[in-house]
Amino acid sequence: MTATRTITFTLNGAPVSADVKPHHNLVELLQTHFGLTGARETCGQGLCGCCTVIVNGRSVSGCLYLASFVDGADVRTVEALDGAGKLSPVQEAFIEASAFQCGYCTPGFILMVTQLLDEHPDPDEEQIKHYLTGNLCRCATYPEVMDAVKLAARKRKAAASA
């Protein structure tokens, strides 16, 4: 009764297809079909940000997003950021600012900060806090994350003008 369907979409720039069940979510799709574990289901309620995936240019909580809904969509995960063999400015900034301890929440933070800087290249503290209110770090590296966002903004600006 719950027929498997074949969906096709773009994953990190490459055309792909997968057989999915209607009740599978986007995180399950990425992990079981493509071995991508950057997005991980954690709170399961869209509150923590660990399952962040970019669908058609917008961040979504992969745990609350049916896999079927990405049929025909452009999907990007954290694994795409160093696709050219080089870390992105946001990834570099998180390392330089030590903006993580265990690293579990880091892929979600990295993607959300990348989105944030696309929208607000030079964000103030209030904008950063507003944008990241849905990302939780149980190691509480929030002060370092704030530093990393500002550092990433400077790196991106420098790269753009270079």
């Binding site: 009764m1 719950t2 027929a3 069940k21 209607p22 009740h23 979510n25 399961g44 309620q45 869209g46 509150l47 940000g49 962040t52 917008r58 961040s59 979504v60 909580s61 745990c63 609350l64 997003y65 049916l66 079927s68 809904f69 959300m112 989105q115 507003h130 944008y131 209110t133 849905g134 939780l136």
Partner: protein
């Protein structure tokens, strides 16, 4: 999650036909953020979901005219947050959006879903209700209009038949009216609220000509607080008046206790926050 079937009709009319008025296990799904939570928790076990994501594009857009805004039910909360038309015609909605859940949920959740779900903890329904919004509802027999304040009948309960869908929300222009939405979250900043209070005031200086006050989250459903409005109407704002409005509000509210607060706590929040929301509206602050 337990398995279910997924239908993806390409028109609103086809979606209505796929719904069954007598079968609670067949349900429409829009953004799905709220429904996914219920399915994961096992409190909702559908046989079939009817996705509205592929219906006509005209149901996901915002149009402004002389008398206000028409917001398609499939419009995402993010689109509402960013809309210049919404900011112009209903700035209290724009301010509310920033405090509503988080970026990722707003990117996916829809206006129609936020209303049809009937969850008293949602932030948008009380604000739209205070603005006097009306709904267009489509069913097998055609269209009907309904004032939003008549939508909710109880905790997660609405007047919608199982084969009716909200297609559009009409929001009258706020114009010179002052509005505010205040909420209290007892967990994290973006957690579900323990209380929401929305007020829209037609005011002249410190004098209130007429007020619309709506309470939510602390109550079984988003509820217009008419006794509090009566206290406020035609009066000049001072501490005594706001205390009287808060007292009236708690007398007419049906409170619910949950993990975000006990009944006595929520009563006290309501008593205080009705006045604070009126003050915030008068001062043009408050999300």
């Amino acid at each position: 999650m337990i398995p279910f079937e997924l239908a993806e009709p390409t028109s609103l009319a086809a979606a209505v036909k796929l719904l069954d008025p007598d079968d609670e296990t067949v349900r429409p799904i829009a953004g799905g953020t709220a429904l996914m939570l219920m399915m994961k928790a096992g409190v909702f076990r559908p046989q079939k979901l009817v996705s509205l994501r592929k219906i006509e594009a005209k149901y996901s857009g915002i149009a402004a005219s002389g008398d206000g805004l028409r917001i398609g039910a499939m419009t995402t909360l993010n689109a509402v947050e960013r809309s210049a038309d919404v900011k112009k015609h209903a700035p209290v909605v724009t301010r509310t959006m920033r405090t509503l859940s988080n970026v990722r949920v707003r990117n996916v959740a829809t206006v129609g879903g936020a209303l049809a779900h009937g969850d008293p903890h949602m932030d948008l329904p009380p604000v739209l209700m205070a603005l006097g919004a009306t709904l267009t509802i489509v069913g097998p027999k055609g269209e009907r209009k309904l004032p939003l304040e008549e939508l909710f009948t109880g905790y997660y309960e609405t007047v919608l038949d199982k084969n009716e869908l909200i297609s559009e929300v009409h929001v009258p222009s706020q114009g010179a009216k002052k509005g505010a939405y205040m909420k209290v979250t007892t967990g994290s900043a973006d957690d579900w609220p323990a209380l929401g209070v929305a007020v829209v005031l037609d005011a002249d200086g410190g004098a209130i000509k007429s007020a619309r006050v709506v309470g939510s989250a602390a109550t079984t459903k988003a509820t217009r607080l008419k006794a509090a409005e009566t206290v406020l109407n035609g009066k000049t704002v001072d501490d005594k008046l706001l205390k009287a409005a808060g007292d009236a509000a708690i007398e007419e509210s049906e409170f619910i206790a949950d993990v975000r607060g006990s009944m006595p706590y929520k009563r006290e929040l309501m008593r205080v926050y009705v006045g604070r929301a009126v003050r915030a509206a008068m001062q043009g602050t408050g999300a």
